[in-house]
């Protein structure tokens, strides 16, 4: 029980830290942050409407002399009410609405790609580890190179080859805005969205499969040198049984833990990729916010991303504490 209490306390603390960071960072700007933000906005072109001033004041507190402490509490209070403020760049849409529209795209695309990449990596890695010392070892340096490639550059290459040169896939967007006005629940729309998601998904799989592959390969090699494998071999068990029941099962445990965490990073992981493909997800929203100096939106997205990561980690912790008693005692 103590384990669970400690873990829950830890996640509450981390959440508080992230929220506070959101509050403190804009106030660390030298001078009067509200004025600086408004100056930035007006320099960016366009007039500063009263609505914008109001929004910035909501974000940074007003000039009416409220103490930092009062501002902090009203900030925490509004977060608990689910009020993340109003977006400046998409005025007057509330930040929560914008996030709600973008989140499903990211979840569907990156979630599916992460699952595919994980499965490929686990079985591929186990196989390469099983065949260690043969030509299969060369797979590892190749995936290392693939992992060192900046993944958004990989995305650029894919766009250049398959969209610009060959014209097989669309260049940007999550769906064809010429054919469909709004996302709809039809089969044609689904196919179209799938076509738009193919290149981004391939990018994610290519850039992340190497990590799974390598981790699983190393765990397999380590597991294979355990005594119980030697015993199993000495007993004359079928190699296929040694492979599946004795090796893969034991070697994949850390990867499964990593997978839960990776699922949490589904939302944050694709920020730059979504920029390359102008994909209508959460990452793209964050970049829009950065480019438009829309700090309320940026903070909101950051908060949602942190929340998903925390949730995934929490689930992983509980799950691991449940299946592995050692984790409970060491925590």
């Amino acid at each position: 029980m103590k384990f669970y209490v400690r873990r829950i306390a830890f996640y509450v603390l981390t959440l508080w830290f992230a929220v506070t960071l959101n509050f403190v960072l804009p106030r660390l700007l030298p001078g009067d942050p509200a004025t600086i933000l408004l100056q930035k906005l007006s320099r960016l072109g366009g007039e500063v409407t009263p609505a914008m001033i109001r929004s910035v004041e909501l974000l940074l507190g007003t000039d009416d002399g409220a103490s930092m402490w009062t501002q902090y509490w009203s900030y925490i209070g509004s977060i608990f009410r689910g009020d993340l403020g109003v977006s400046i760049s998409n005025y007057p849409a509330p930040v929560t609405t914008l996030i709600g529209e973008a989140l499903p795209w990211t979840l569907a695309l990156v979630g599916t790609a992460t699952v595919i990449s994980f499965l490929l990596g686990i079985f591929g890695g186990a196989w390469v580890g099983w065949k260690r010392g043969t030509w299969a070892d060369n797979v590892i340096p190749a995936t290392t190179l693939l992992q060192s490639v900046p993944y958004f550059w990989l995305a650029l290459l894919l766009v250049y080859i398959f969209s610009v040169s060959l014209g097989w896939f669309p260049i940007i967007g999550g769906w064809d805005t010429w054919t469909f006005d709004n996302p709809e629940a039809s089969f044609a729309f689904f196919l179209d969205a799938l076509r738009h998601a193919t290149l981004p998904a391939i990018t994610i799989i290519l850039s992340s499969v190497g990590g799974w592959l390598l981790g699983m390969r190393n765990m397999t090699v380590s597991t294979l040198s355990e005594d119980y494998i030697t015993t199993a071999e000495a007993k004359g068990l079928r190699p296929s049984r040694i492979f599946m029941t004795y090796t893969v099962r034991n070697a994949s445990l850390p990867s499964i833990a990593g997978f839960t965490i990776a699922l949490g990073f589904v939302v944050s992981g694709s920020i730059v990729m979504e920029q390359v493909f102008t994909y209508p997800g959460l990452g793209r929203l964050m970049i829009q916010a950065v480019q438009g100096n829309d700090y309320a939106l940026m903070q909101g997205v950051f908060l949602v991303i942190t929340l998903t990561v925390l949730a995934a980690n929490f689930i992983m912790d509980m799950f691991y504490g449940f299946i592995d008693p050692r984790a409970r005692h060491n925590g």
Partner: protein
């Protein structure tokens, strides 16, 4: 995405106890009694042996040296990376531009070499910051134990769970006028946690070794024990973590710069990619503009990872011995089969 996942896997390995036990081995003893010259020769010989044993190390070091030479030497022979010849996009080889020009007529080769300086500088600086922070939070906490360790472990865990790239984006977007140094600090300060946890678990295991206990009983001060008894044994691990941090920082810089959050007014490989994107290099088919910077990042990252691999194999004999043993078994089986056939 890849960065974050890697970071998390590392952490999972460190905290989940899944990391295979790292034995810090010193398998080729060197005669230290013959004075400094002999030691140096011994070290050289050991390095030579290492090179012969590991082709990965040779390839990795070779590529790194080549890139560093390119970055150091080439800028002396090219024009300024921001000099604009004529406002047009030139293909490679046209008009004396070996790798062509950007949309505004800047020489791509010159940008590559200068940008490499920026990227390397950011990578190295951020790597050093990461290493120093992770040593402070990992090794010192792990060795001292008690509430110091508890606090430092808590801070590292919190920092680890906060997603790195979004945090970097938020921090950089608030800072106007980012220099190369500032960017390196942002990258270093936001990404030390994973490394700290790995070092901590290792320091905790070293703490209970006999020779450390002996030093403690002999009345050595904690500072001396950490510096003389613990640190040297962690050197291979430090090297690995440092290389890892450099790769992560170079990739991180590229990502941030691509989003337009890079150093303002300086050229790096990341800002080149950003320029290429905003200059519509893709749709105009200007491959010579966006392919080389990414390729250089990939080569540098790959080379650093290869060196990291060979360090891993040196400190974790299981990874190496495993494959050799398997090969021997298979060869023996083959020989036996041949004999049976004859």
């Amino acid at each position: 995405m890849a960065d974050d996942i890697r970071e998390q896997q590392l952490a999972a390995q460190a905290s989940g106890g899944a990391l295979s036990p790292v034995e810090v081995l010193d398998d080729t003893p060197v005669a230290v009694t013959d004075g400094p010259a002999a030691v140096r020769r011994g070290a050289l010989r050991r390095f030579g042996q290492l090179l012969r044993r590991s082709p990965k190390l040779v390839v990795g070091l070779g590529v790194i040296v080549a890139i560093v030479l390119f970055v150091v030497i080439v800028p002396f022979f090219t024009e300024s990376p921001t000099a604009l010849d004529n406002a047009s996009l030139l293909r490679p080889g046209e008009d004396g531009h070996l790798l062509g020009t950007t949309q505004l007529g800047a020489d791509v080769l010159s940008q590559l070499a200068h940008g490499g300086r920026g990227s390397l500088l950011i990578g190295l600086t951020a790597g050093v910051i990461t290493l120093v922070l992770s040593v402070i939070f990992g090794v010192i906490g792990g060795y001292l134990g008690g509430w110091v360790d508890e606090t430092m472990f808590l801070i590292s865990s919190v920092m680890l769970v906060i997603p790195g790239l979004p945090l970097m984006i938020v921090v950089s977007s608030y800072i106007p006028g980012r220099t190369i140094w500032l960017l390196a600090v942002i990258l270093g300060v936001t990404s030390w946690a994973g490394s700290a946890l790995v070092l901590r678990s290792q320091a905790r295991s070293l703490r209970t070794r006999d020779y450390v206990s002996a030093a403690k009983v002999a009345g050595e001060k904690p500072t001396r024990i950490i510096l003389v008894e613990i640190m040297p044994n962690l050197l291979p691990l430090f090297a690995g973590q440092f290389l890892f941090a450099v790769v992560a920082a170079i990739l991180g810089e590229a990502g941030l710069s691509y989003l337009g959050l890079g150093p303002t007014g300086s050229v790096t490989w990341g800002t080149m990619l950003n320029d290429a994107q905003s200059g519509a290099a893709l749709t105009r088919g200007a491959w010579w503009w966006f392919i080389p910077p990414g390729l250089l990042i990939a080569f540098l990252g790959g080379a650093l990872s290869l060196v990291n691999f060979s360090i891993d194999e040196t400190i974790n004999p299981k990874l190496r011995a495993g494959s050799i043993a398997a090969k021997n078994t298979r060869d023996a089986k083959k020989r036996a089969k041949k004999k049976g056939d004859q």
